[in-house]
């Protein structure tokens, strides 16, 4: 059996935990960085050292960016100008590059040179500093102007310069010869030719046409209904010059090709260094983007530990936080502490259980991909496998019922889980009848309890948490709320405001509940606040009894 590439999380998990969101929100500026980020790999158990090193790089970059504001700005501008010319670099070994390609590479070299001097100035670690390419730059810029323009300049080849001078002389000779002929014709026949050495005569002037037809130095070159154009016939000397000019032009073209060939070879000689530099620039781009993102979003370096745990204090789901900030609200951070075994999140509707589940995934996956995490502090032990089981619109698009797709994913999870897995399960079996749903949930919990997995499950089934081996985390919810005040406020609110008011009063924090306390029943309360008529609510209360 071939060893398949080890996969930490599937596409859905990367999306639902918000890893994709963070990556797309990062500001990558070079084509090299953009390419590398698509190929980035997570760190697995056993690679804690390498992950630490990566996180240290990010941390160092955060400091560097703080201290060298101006230089980082210039560096970013320079990044934005880079284009991916690796194809030309690779091609230089087997083919002659075109002038445009050499121009683009010269530009890239100038940018590398600039990035090199900038990164040396702000003392970046050696691994990010592009190597010196002055030697090749000198070849492509023999004048040493360091301007980002390019042409096969005379200075590339003495022979080329010589040929071009000859061409100029020859053109001058030809023009001189033609001009002499022109003035001769003017003197002899009283005809004045245009600067292009031709003359157009109206057909009505047949006498002149007849006269010109007699002149051997002029030949008919064009004719229409109304006029005839005659052009000067070059004499033998001029013709010889023209022939020579053609030869010189051919020689010039050949020499230009030689020069391009030589330059291509030189580029090829340095190709490894150039490609390495592109790689380095890409890595620098990513690290800088990670650092600036962490800084802008108040992320901290997670502590990476050997044992399989996942703990964080005051975590914020970045995507949700952005939405709340846009609305002018304040995010209520959540803390959690998980280890192998099953933990349930229970609590009020609208209490943020699903967001807390996603947040847990976000912290874990960001840490494992070498990113800072949106928490005050975090301790993370690496996992071999991560998956989130959560309803999404895609299963409906595929024509599966929510229960059907849930079971499909559950099977995938159970088949793929291995030692040190992180499983995040959102309200499983809530879409079927409560008798079987509860039974199924309990048996899943029983199955997961004994494994070396961190399993986090949100549920409304309270008997699940009665199991003494299951840790119960409860959303504080509306437990400490002054309902009178809340009701007063909500009475005159419209629909959208009601939701906002409930969110304002809601306490999203999780508390560990050790005794098998009753799950707070806020569903009817919330339904009432959202405007469901009291006759329905009251009837429902009767049914509970």
């Amino acid at each position: 059996m071939s060893t398949a590439v080890k996969r930490l999380a599937n596409v859905k998990t990367r999306r639902e935990t918000g890893l994709d969101y963070v990556i797309s929100a990062m500001n990558l500026l070079t084509p090299f960085g953009a390419k590398q980020i698509k190929e980035q790999k997570p760190f697995f158990p056993g690679q804690e050292g390498a992950l630490e090193a990566e996180l240290d790089r990010v941390g160092q970059m955060v400091e560097t960016a703080e201290q060298n504001h101006k230089e980082i700005g210039i560096l970013q501008e320079t990044f934005m100008m880079t284009k991916d010319n690796t194809f030309s670099i690779e091609r230089s070994g087997s083919s002659v590059l075109s002038v445009v390609e050499i121009f683009e590479l010269k530009n890239l070299l100038l940018l590398m040179d600039k990035i090199r001097s900038l990164s040396t100035r702000i003392s970046l670690p050696e691994e990010f500093v592009p190597e010196d390419i002055t030697e090749l730059l000198d070849v492509l810029d023999p004048g040493g102007d360091r301007l980002n323009t390019f042409y096969i300049y005379d200075s590339f080849s003495e022979k080329l310069a010589q040929l071009r001078r000859e061409k100029k002389n020859m053109e001058r000779e030809i023009r001189k010869g033609q001009k002499a002929l022109r003035s001769e014709i003017r003197e002899k026949h009283g005809l004045s030719l245009t600067p292009k050495f031709d003359i157009t005569i109206s057909k009505s002037d047949s006498a002149t046409i007849k006269m010109i037809e007699e002149i051997s130095e002029l030949a008919k070159s064009d004719e229409d209904y109304m006029s005839v154009t005659f052009t000067l016939v070059p004499d033998a000397e001029v013709q010889a010059h023209m022939k020579e000019l053609d030869e010189i032009t051919a020689d010039i073209e050949e020499e230009e090709l030689n020069v391009r060939g030589r330059l291509s070879k030189e580029i090829h000689k340095h190709s490894k260094r150039l490609l390495d530099n592109c790689e380095k620039i890409g890595r620098l781009d990513i690290i800088l983007a990670k650092a600036l993102y962490a800084k802008a979003h108040n992320c901290t370096k997670p502590e990476i530990v050997k044992e399989h745990v996942l703990e964080f204090e005051d975590g914020r789901h970045l995507q949700v936080e952005e939405i709340i900030k846009k609305k002018g609200g304040e995010y209520c951070p959540v803390s959690i502490s998980l280890k192998d075994g099953v933990t349930c999140i229970t609590g009020a509707n609208m209490g943020g259980k699903t967001i807390s589940l996603k947040l847990t995934g976000m912290v874990a996956i960001l840490a494992q991909y070498g990113y800072f995490v949106p928490c005050k502090s975090a301790r993370v032990g690496l996992s071999n496998f991560m998956q989130i089981l959560i309803g999404d619109s895609q299963s409906i698009e595929r024509g599966l019922s929510s229960f059907g797709s849930e079971m499909e994913e559950l099977k995938e999870i159970i088949d793929n889980s291995k030692d040190r897995s992180l499983l995040l399960i959102d309200e499983i079996a809530s879409g079927t009848n409560p008798v079987e749903g509860l039974a199924l949930t309990k048996s899943i919990v029983d199955y997961l309890k004994g494994k070396t997995y961190i399993s986090l499950i949100t549920t409304h089934f309270e008997t699940v948490t009665a199991d003494k081996d299951v840790v119960n985390m409860q959303v504080t919810g509306l437990a400490n709320v002054d309902f009178e005040k809340l009701n007063r406020e909500i009475r005159y609110a419209n629909r959208r405001e009601r939701i906002n008011i409930i969110q304002k009063y809601m306490d999203y924090r999780l508390t560990r509940v050790d005794d098998a306390a009753e799950i707070p029943k806020d569903a009817l309360n919330i339904a009432k606040m959202l405007g469901i008529s009291s006759s329905i609510i009251d009837k429902a209360k009767e049914y509970i009894v």
Binding site: V100, F103, E104, F150, P195, T200, D224, M226, S227
Partner: protein
């Protein structure tokens, strides 16, 4: 006479626009380039699309190539660079794309023939012309890709040079008449600054609108096609202006009561929106048609090509003379002499 010297003092960007295909637009461009060489003016040369190819892609007729002197700034797409016979120093790789690759700005180091192409998007065009002027061009000449007067839309240049020629008609009088008509349309007066202009330019209005009693009234019609009667019913004593954002055709004017017509002013975005022939136009003017535009077009010069690719030609001098008589205040140049 120093035509270009004069032009470059008045204008920075001049579009060369043909009255029809094969009106001699590229011949005119070449003529102007030669003039510039003689007058020592550094040109920037660009095109609103691919131009300067050996044969015209649309009709298959011969098209003269563009010969450029040293120091000229020219826009060349990546794929045509190698095909240029002139020596071109690449000065800048722009971000503007074209069907033939990114557009590059080059400086001519060794004079020769070049195939010119420029960005297709108007805004990019304006930006690129600025860049050419920064790089040292005294005057930028813009060649249109399709020889249609409709692309003379203002905004991309300060003035145009109108190329006209025998291709328009076998009758010389007709060529002169049509050209004069076009020039007169282009020179229609601009709507003066003031309340009406503010009303019509505040937002991009896409429906036919009226100014009635100093207020803007938007009608539920976007084109004028068949709108004449409808419009007539909406015009009363208090309407002063009628704004037509789209094509302005004879059917709009024909159905409007002549008494009403005399009392209103039609306002168009620019003169290229008018699709009314000379005869009809003159009749309408007699009936009292008033037209103003938001932006008219400066015609800096007219070039004439006495030869048609259809195989006939006019007497050069006669054509120039007749044209100059019809349009006395704009220089007329024969590009073939």
């Amino acid at each position: 006479m120093y035509l270009l010297d004069e032009l470059s003092e008045k204008y920075k960007r001049i579009s060369i626009v043909g009255m029809a295909k094969n009106a001699g637009k590229t011949t005119a461009l070449n003529y102007l380039i030669e003039e510039a060489m003689d007058e020592g003016i550094t040109l920037g040369i660009t095109s609103t699309g691919r131009d300067g190819e050996g044969t015209d892609v649309v009709t298959g007729t011969d098209k003269p190539r563009v010969f450029l002197d040293t120091d000229t700034i020219v826009s060349v797409p990546k794929q045509l660079y190698e095909m240029a016979d002139a020596g071109l120093e690449i000065v800048k790789m722009t971000d503007y794309g074209s069907s033939l690759g990114q557009i590059m700005l080059c400086r001519v180091v060794d004079s020769g023939y070049v195939q010119v192409a420029g960005p297709v998007i108007n805004a990019q065009h304006v930006e690129m012309c600025e860049e050419m002027l920064r790089l040292g061009a005294d005057l930028v000449l813009i060649d249109g890709a399709i020889d249609r007067k409709s692309i003379a839309a203002p905004g991309t240049s300060d003035a145009i040079i109108l190329s006209t020629g025998a291709v328009l008609s076998r009758k010389m009088s007709k060529v002169v008449e049509e050209t004069a008509h076009t020039v007169n349309l282009y020179r229609l007066p601009n709507l003066e600054d003031g309340r009406e202009r503010d009303l019509l330019t505040e937002e991009n209005i896409e429906q036919i609108s009226l100014i009635r009693d100093g207020q803007l009234v938007t009608l539920d019609r976007s084109t004028g096609l068949g709108a004449g009667k409808f419009l007539d019913s909406k015009i009363d004593d208090k309407v002063t202006h009628v704004f037509v954002p789209g094509a302005f055709t004879h059917s709009i004017v024909a159905d409007i009561n002549p008494k009403k017509l005399r009392n209103i002013t039609f306002v168009l975005k620019d003169p290229t929106k008018i699709f009314i022939g000379t005869m009809m136009w003159n009749q309408f003017r007699k009936r009292g048609l008033n037209i103003k535009v938001l932006e008219n077009i400066n015609v800096a010069a007219i070039t004439v090509n006495p030869t048609s690719p259809g195989g006939y030609a006019f007497d050069h001098e006669e054509l120039v003379k007749a044209m100059q008589e019809a349009i006395p205040d704009i220089p007329v140049i024969d590009v073939r002499m």
